[in-house]
C-alpha cells in the first residue's frame, strides 16, 4: 500500500468510532421498537383511541354530583372471540343513567363444555371519545373468570358516567369480547397474577 501508515491508523480509528456510533443507533432502535409498546398504550389512554377504558376507578358518593337533568343511554354487547364456546351475554341490553350515578348491571356466563376453562373479557367503548368518561369501580374484566364444566355465573359490573362527558354523547356502547385463556395458564402458571 502506498497510503502512509499514519493515514491508515487514523482511518481505522475514525472507522471504529463511526461503527460504534452506528451500532449504538442499532441497539437504540431495537429498544425503540419495544418502547413503542408502552408508548402506544399511553397514547391510546390519553386520547381514548381504540375505545380503551382505564383500570379500576373509585366512587365517592359524597364528592360525585349526580346530574339529574341529563340522561345517557348505555348499551351492552357481549361477543365470544373465535373458538370460545361459552354462553356470554349481558342481562340487560341497555339502560339509561344520569351522569355521576353509580349503576350495577350483570353479565351472564356459562361454561357448557366438559372441562374447566379460564376466560378473560376485554372491554371496548364506542364512540372512542366516550371511553375516558366511563369509570368502572368493579368489573369482571379486572380478573380472569374460571368456570368448572357446566358452571354458570352472574358477573357484576359497577360503573358511572363522568359528569364531564361531552354534551354530544347521549348514547354509548360498552362491548366485551370473551377470550379463552385456559391454554396460557396451562403453559405458564406465573401469568395468573398478570393484568
Amino acid at each position: 500500500m502506498r497510503r502512509k501508515q499514519t493515514d491508515n491508523t487514523q482511518e481505522s480509528v475514525r472507522t471504529s468510532h463511526l461503527v460504534s456510533k452506528l451500532a449504538l443507533v442499532v441497539v437504540g432502535m431495537f429498544g425503540f421498537g419495544f418502547a413503542l409498546v408502552p408508548i402506544y398504550d399511553v397514547f391510546c389512554e390519553i386520547t381514548g383511541l381504540n375505545g380503551k377504558t382505564a383500570g379500576r376507578a373509585t366512587y365517592d358518593a359524597a364528592v360525585v354530583e349526580v346530574q339529574e337533568e341529563r340522561l345517557v343511554t348505555v348499551q351492552f354487547t357481549a361477543n365470544n372471540n373465535a373458538g370460545m364456546s361459552w354462553q356470554f351475554h349481558p342481562m340487560v341490553n341497555q339502560i339509561q343513567v344520569h351522569p355521576g350515578e353509580l349503576t350495577e348491571v350483570k353479565f351472564y356466563a356459562r361454561n357448557p363444555t366438559g372441562m374447566t376453562m379460564i376466560a378473560q373479557a376485554v372491554p371496548s367503548v364506542v364512540p372512542f371519545v366516550a371511553a375516558d368518561y366511563l369509570h368502572k369501580t368493579e368489573c369482571f374484566c379486572f380478573n380472569q373468570q374460571t368456570l368448572a364444566a357446566g358452571e354458570a355465573i352472574e358477573m357484576p359490573l359497577l360503573f358511572y358516567i363522568d359528569q364531564a362527558i361531552p354534551d354530544g354523547v347521549s348514547k354509548l356502547t360498552l362491548s366485551y369480547t370473551l377470550f379463552d385463556v385456559t391454554a396460557n395458564f396451562l403453559n405458564s402458571s406465573s401469568n395468573l397474577s398478570a393484568k
Binding site: M1, E11, F30, V37, Q120, T177
Partner: protein, 523 residues
C-alpha cells in the same frame, strides 16, 4: 489508469474458497448479485404458481392453503432476497469504485453479511418441505394470523428474518463507514455520484428500521413461545399494535427498495443524454426529504383500522407531501433528457421505462393516499397493481438497467445489444400486460390474496396471467445474456459509454481485482 504493482498484490485465490473467504468488494458484490438473481427466479416461480392458479376462476392447480404459502413466500423472497441484496451487491461493486476507495471499510464483516444470507433463505425455504407448510400469513405477517393462528413453522420464519436483518444492518454500517471515511481526497459530499448519495441515505434508513423489524418478530416469538401478550387482546395486548410497529418498519422499507433505484437512473440518464444531471443539489435534498417523510406516514397502510379522523387526515396529508420531492426527481430526470442527444441503449431503455412506469405507480399511490377513497381500494388488486408498478418496473427495472450499464465494467465484455433490447421489450410489454389489468380488477372490487374469484373478474385475470408468463420467461433471456457476456463478447473500453462520467470509468474494463490502492485525484 494504472493500478498498484506492489509485490504483495495478488489476484483472487483459486477454487471455491476464493468465494468463501473473500473480503474483496468486487467478489462480494458479484455474490450478492448472483444470489439475488437466484432469489428473483425462486420468487418468480412462486409468482407464476399464483398466476397459474388465477388464470381461471375455480381451483385448478393448488389448494387455498398452499396458495397462501405462495403469496407469503413470493413477497418475502422478492423483498428480502431479490431486491435488497441486489442493491447491496451494486453498492459493494460500485461505491468503492465511485468514490475512489480501495475496498469497503469493513471487508471481513462484508464477507459475513453476505454469507449468512443463504442460510437465512435456506431456512425460510425449508419450511416448504415441512408438514406444517410454509408461512401462510402474507409477507406483512399481521398478528394474530402470524401468532395465534400461525403454522408451527413460523419460528423458522422469525429466525430467518432475524438473520436477514442482521445481514442488512451489517451491510449498511459497512456502506456508511465506507462513504463517510474512505472517499478519495477532493471527493466532497456534494461531488459524490447520486448512486452513492441515495445509498448513504438508504443505509441510514436501514439501520433505523431493521432493528424495529427485529423487535417486532422478537415480540411474536415471545407471544408464541413464552406466553407474553404483546399482540393478544386476551392478555391485555393489541393486534393493532402489531400493525403500527410493523409499518413503522415497513414504510421506510419500501423507500429502502426505491431510493437506490433513484440513484441508478440518476447515473444512467445523464450518460445516455450526454448532459449533466439537471438539479444535482435538489436531487440530494429531495432524497433526504423522502427519507424523512417515510417515518411519519406509516399509518396510511392502516386507514381502515378505525383511526380517528385527525389521524387519518394527518397521515393522508403527510403521504401526499411525498409526491412533492418525488415530483422534483421526475422533473429533473425529464429535464436532463430534454434537448439531450439521447441514444437508446438497453440501460437507457430500462431507465426511461423506469421513469414512466414508476411515475404511474406513484400516481396510484396518491390515489391510495386519499383516506376516504382508500376504504374502497383497501386490500384489493388495486393495491397489488400499485406496489408492483413501483417495485417491478421501478426497483427491478433499475437493477436490470444497472446490470446492463455496468456489466462491461464488471466483465470487460460488451453484452449483446440486440438481445438486451429484446429482453427489454419483452419485459416492458410483459409487465404492462401483467399488472395493468390488475388496476381494473381492484377498482371492480377483487380482493387480494384469494385463490378463487367471482366470474366477472375472469377476463382480466387471464390477460394478467399471460403477461406474467411473458415477463417471467423473458428473465431466462436475461440470464442467458449475462452468462454470454461473462464468457466473452466484444471487448469493452475503460470508458465503455461515450457520455459516462465518474471515477468508475477511469479504471480498465474489466475492473482489476484491486483498484484505487492509491487514492485518485478528484478534480
Amino acid at each position: 489508469m494504472a493500478t498498484g504493482h506492489d509485490d504483495h498484490h495478488h489476484g483472487p485465490a483459486k477454487g471455491f474458497t476464493r468465494w468463501l473467504y473473500t473480503t474483496n468488494h468486487k467478489d462480494i458484490g458479484s455474490m450478492y448479485l448472483w444470489f439475488s438473481f437466484a432469489m428473483f427466479l425462486l420468487g418468480g416461480t412462486f409468482a407464476l404458481v399464483i398466476r397459474a392458479e388465477l388464470f381461471q376462476p375455480g381451483l385448478q392447480f393448488v389448494e387455498p392453503e398452499f396458495f397462501n404459502q405462495m403469496t407469503t413466500m413470493h413477497g418475502l423472497v422478492m423483498v428480502f432476497g431479490a431486491v435488497m441484496p441486489a442493491f447491496v451487491g451494486l453498492a459493494n461493486w460500485m461505491i468503492p469504485l465511485m468514490i475512489g476507495a480501495p475496498d469497503m471499510a469493513l471487508p471481513r464483516m462484508n464477507n459475513w453479511s453476505f454469507w449468512i444470507l443463504p442460510f437465512a433463505f435456506a431456512m425460510l425455504a425449508s419450511t416448504l418441505f415441512m408438514e406444517a407448510g410454509a408461512p401462510n400469513f402474507g409477507w406483512t405477517f399481521y398478528a394474530p394470523l402470524s401468532t395465534t393462528y400461525a403454522p408451527s413453522t413460523v419460528t423458522f420464519f422469525i429466525f430467518a428474518i432475524h438473520i436477514m436483518g442482521a445481514s442488512s444492518i451489517m451491510g449498511s454500517i459497512n456502506i456508511i463507514a465506507t462513504i463517510q471515511n474512505l472517499r478519495a481526497p477532493g471527493m466532497t459530499y456534494m461531488k459524490m455520484p447520486l448512486f452513492v448519495w441515495t445509498w448513504l441515505i438508504t443505509a441510514y434508513l436501514l439501520i433505523a428500521v431493521m432493528p424495529v423489524l427485529a423487535g417486532v418478530v422478537t415480540m411474536m416469538l415471545f407471544d408464541i413461545h413464552f406466553g407474553t401478550s404483546f399482540f393478544s387482546a386476551a392478555g391485555g395486548g393489541d393486534p393493532v399494535l402489531f400493525q403500527h410497529v410493523f409499518w413503522f418498519f415497513g414504510h421506510p422499507e419500501v423507500y429502502i427498495m426505491i431510493l437506490p433505484a433513484f440513484g441508478v437512473v440518476s447515473e444512467i440518464i445523464p450518460t445516455f443524454s450526454r448532459k449533466k444531471l439537471f438539479g444535482y443539489d435538489s436531487m440530494v435534498y429531495a432524497t433526504s426529504s423522502i427519507a424523512f417523510l417515510s417515518f411519519i406516514v406509516w399509518a396510511h397502510h392502516m386507514f381502515t383500522t378505525g383511526m380517528p379522523l385527525a389521524g387519518e387526515l394527518f397521515f393522508m396529508y403527510a403521504t401526499m407531501l411525498i409526491a412533492v420531492p418525488t415530483g422534483v426527481k421526475v422533473f429533473n430526470w425529464v429535464t436532463t433528457m430534454f434537448k439531450g442527444s439521447i441514444s437508446f441503449e438497453t440501460p437507457m431503455l430500462f431507465s426511461i421505462a423506469f421513469v414512466v412506469l414508476f411515475t404511474m405507480g406513484g400516481f396510484t399511490g396518491l390515489m391510495l393516499a386519499i383516506a376516504p377513497a382508500d376504504f374502497q381500494y383497501h386490500d384489493t388488486y388495486f393495491v397489488v397493481a400499485h406496489f408492483h408498478y413501483v417495485l417491478v418496473p421501478g426497483a427491478v427495472f433499475s437493477i436490470m438497467a444497472a446490470a446492463y450499464y455496468w456489466l462491461p465494467k464488471w466483465t470487460g465484455n460488451m453484452y449483446d445489444e440486440a438481445l438486451g433490447k429484446l429482453h427489454f421489450w419483452l419485459s416492458f410489454v410483459g409487465i404492462n400486460i401483467l399488472f395493468f389489468p390488475q388496476h381494473f380488477l381492484g377498482l371492480a372490487g377483487m380482493p387480494r390474496r384469494i385463490p378463487d374469484y367471482a366470474l366477472q373478474f375472469a377476463d382480466f385475470n387471464m390477460v394478467s396471467t399471460v403477461g406474467a408468463f411473458i415477463f417471467g420467461f423473458s428473465q431466462l433471456l436475461f440470464l442467458f445474456i449475462v452468462v454470454k457476456t461473462v464468457l466473452g463478447g466484444k471487448k469493452a473500453t475503460a470508458q465503455v459509454w461515450e457520455g459516462a462520467e465518474g471515477l468508475e470509468w477511469t479504471v480498465p474494463s474489466p475492473a482489476p481485482y484491486h483498484t484505487f490502492t492509491t487514492p485518485p485525484l478528484v478534480p
